[in-house]
Amino acid sequence: MAEERATVTINLDGVDIQVESGQALIDAAELAGTYIPRFCYHPRLKPVGLCRACLVEVEGPRGTALVPSCTTPVGEGMIVHTQSETVKKAQEGVLEFLLINHPLDCPVCDKGGECPLQDQAYAFGAGETRFVEEKRHYEKPIEISDLILLDRERCILCGRCTRFSDEVSGDPLIEFKDRGNYVQVMTFPDEPFASYFSGNTVQICPVGALTAKPYRFKARPWDIDGVESVSLVDAVHSKISVQTSHNEIVRIYGIDNDATNHGWLSDKDRFIFNYGQSEDRLTTPLIKEDGEFKEATWAEAITLVSERLGSFDADKVAGIGGARSTNEDAYVFSKFLRSVVGTPHLDAQIGDGLNAAFAAAVTPRAEINDLETVKTILLWGPDLKEELPVLYLRVRRAATELGANLVIFHPRRTGLDGVATHTFQYKPGTGPDVLRKLVAGDGEYAEARRTLGEGPVLALVGRTGLTEDPDLAEAVAAFALDLPDARIMPLMRRGNVFGALDMGVTPALLPGRVAIDDEAGRTALEEHWGPLPDGAGLDTTGILEGLASGQLSALVLNGADPIRDYPTPSTAAAALDVAEFVVSFEMFMSDSAAYADVIFPVVGLGEVEGTATNLEGRVQKVNRIVLPAGMSRPVWSILNDLAATMGTEFDAASVEAVGAEITSVAPAYGGVAWDRLSWGDDKEGLVLPGPDGTQPLEYTPIDRSVPVASGHRVLHTARVLYDDGVMMRHSPGISGLASRGAAYLHPRDASVLAVTEGDEIDITVDGEVRLPVVIDPSLVEGTVYVPFNLAATAGLGAVGTLRIDAVRGGDD
């Protein structure tokens, strides 16, 4: 939360008002109900005062002067006129100047109907043009990236897009070019505007100069409906507006929210929505007969599943998934497995996450907004630009605008290196050793260690990749907790994984962050749920191994695709292959769903209502605006039917009732109320309090090697933003952006292997893949990097013995 600022009194058009000291006049006036026109000003960008649309008169010692209200901070006693003749003439003059070269193509412009220039032209414009010369002409929309079109004739040169790219996202690929009357916005020839954040420029462009291909000509603003929700593409949960036309999502906009995204989105958040209308969506239940899926009725599918699940001993059934669900879906999933089926084996993580108790309950846990005030940031985890892009923007802002120190540990370069104070690359497996040296402030770590002594400190910890030991993150956190005023933010990427853990979709926890061995908590839950299974459950690794060994027989997959996501895909495939019965809750046929006996089609973005919990523990509302695709249904309601068929009627007969049940059953969720989240005090979400008591962590140096080693080479594999995930694959707007995959080698490794950039090599870990070589000097010698889960890298896995073979051409 922003600190309280002093107030000052200004006189606005003859009325004394109290405003926050130092605020921009344009904002102060708006809060007082006086809207001053603007084009270049954007509250999340540095004010530059170049469009001059917001001129107002301010009285000063040397008379009254016109000043841009966007760059003028309010001061005690300031006398401001926003309605004088001079102001009106100046504002109308600017508007006329902007219009003389602007095309009159509003009827065919995407922005028509929601364009500030158009609105103001109607409100103030003279109506008739006094400009009889020829307008500026440019080639009509040009493609400046796979997603973005630029129409320079419509551009009013406010510089919002160029400033966003430079200031906020840090990839200045779009810039002003030429001078004076010829200034235009442009990319460099053959270097497209390939930014993970390009869609934000479309959203903040005040006219129709930048348009997004996925939206172009899809709808007109006046037949658009919208609802606020959050993006479940990753665990930041950026606030979005889901906009529809004729029951179809046509556009996602970021909503400005102090707490999380500041209005920004990644292009994945913004453009992934097309999967909703994909031809490949599963829209009816499917039952496998003789190896073929056949469409079935809901009644048939539910009866079959309930019979089969009921036919096994309870502890021979297990569940994987839930990270793609809402909290309500995850809660009912947990309740169904534990209390109806009666199994303790369930996990929302897929062998690629963190220790659940640590992730859900580390304390003191940081909020994203702590980035506004911390002095030092320690980032030892994933490359945020690839895995949590909106968090990347917030950390970048802290390190640039706000001057925070940033210390990064990662196996190779990351998107934030350019703004970091210290960066260290290390070979996966040597992390514990590096940490030990950092703690001691040895040698090359001495300066970073000193920097980390400047509090308040925020430590962002997670796995740098799938070959990273999950315990390392905890060890880093334990070290960080000894730093001054330190707070920890555990990093995991997958949509609502934190919500699923909070709902008890993990062997270690019961709903509401109650440890499984907390007797009082367990008893309290049993009052609602009935008796719980005894004994410790298995996690995903245990479940897959149990299935393979025959210890388990049946598996419920809830939006999970272990064959793609589990570090040893062969183990996952073998487990699914021998399982006696598999049921999958899915939107699309996936590698894992293909093994299912029954598939239930489930709802997706804009079709589902509930809540979700992000990586700070912030609960926000997820809202519905379109009808479910075909016969697809929400997970909770399918599970309700299954439970009833299996003899247990759940009380909660609506998702809202499930939400209410969570608040009464899950201790940490006691204060959550939907109406407050939707339009009350908790509109920015409610951060749940962490557990009481002292620090649960102590720094214990861990000493284990990474899973993968062979000779002196080790594998680093991590996710990239555009991967081959199920939703990515079915979103035509962005599916083409997925990288084609490569193996990254240190120059010296490449020369030992006698390969150069572009040559192909075969890499074997769990499976074998053939990939072109990219030379990457940012790696530590001996580290081989392969992006995880691309079409070309699927099956490689992360655990196994690393082997590399240069592919020799047939000729030599």
Partner: protein
């Protein structure tokens, strides 16, 4: 990326980068050096300067395109710039430009087909006291009458001087000067770039 640059220019680039507290400041000088290497500020030149300064190519293009002296299209061996701003205008600059256009057979903004001469009008050259003024590869000649302007073009075409010296042109074709130019200048222009030794663009006796 710049390893095709002459070794002196590579050395120069290094020095220019070190000459400023921040690398980005070297963009403008480096654009001159790159233009000398490529003949003009080509896309490759901008890409190389981006690589040297850690900027994106789009940022370098943004800077380069702001300034009129960075030519992003090839120009002739001799860039003839005719000042047509107010003081030169008052003293007949338009007639000088016309004479030059007529003599070269090309229009303002064009380059002769043999790539020798480019003609452009420019805003004030800072030679108002010697109006009308013309510069060749940014070396000045002041007080140039239309007929002398024709002679200048013929001379460029026929004598093809390898280094352009303002004094020589002034002596052969010039008139009224802004001020006494004093002693003979020892360096001149070796390309259509301002002749400045730290950028490698000057030639002559040194």
């Amino acid at each position: 990326m710049i390893n095709h640059w002459s070794s002196e220019n590579q050395e120069r680039a290094k020095e220019l980068l070190e000459q400023y507290p921040e690398k980005r400041s070297a963009v403008m000088p480096l654009l001159y050096v790159a233009a000398l290497e490529h003949g003009y500020v080509s896309e490759d030149a901008m890409r190389e300067v981006a690589g040297l300064t850690g900027l994106t190519s789009a940022q370098v293009q943004s800077v380069a395109s702001f300034y009129t002296m960075y030519k992003r299209e090839p120009v002739g061996k001799y860039l003839v710039s005719v000042c047509t701003s107010i003081s030169c205008y008052l003293r007949g600059a338009d007639a000088v430009l016309e004479a030059i256009e007529d003599e070269t057979g090309i229009l303002d903004g064009e380059t002769t087909p043999d790539g020798k001469i480019s003609v452009e009008h420019v805003e004030c050259s800072g030679a108002c006291g010697g109006a009308p003024a013309v510069s060749v590869n940014w070396e000045l000649v002041e007080g140039l009458a239309p007929d002398k302007a024709r002679d200048l073009i013929k001379w460029l075409r026929d004598a093809e001087p390898s280094v352009i010296f303002g004094d020589e042109m002034q002596m052969l074709f010039g008139g009224q000067q802004s001020f006494d130019w004093g002693p003979k200048e020892i360096e001149g222009a070796i390309a259509a770039l301002p002749a400045f030794d730290p950028y490698g663009t000057a030639g002559g006796e040194k």
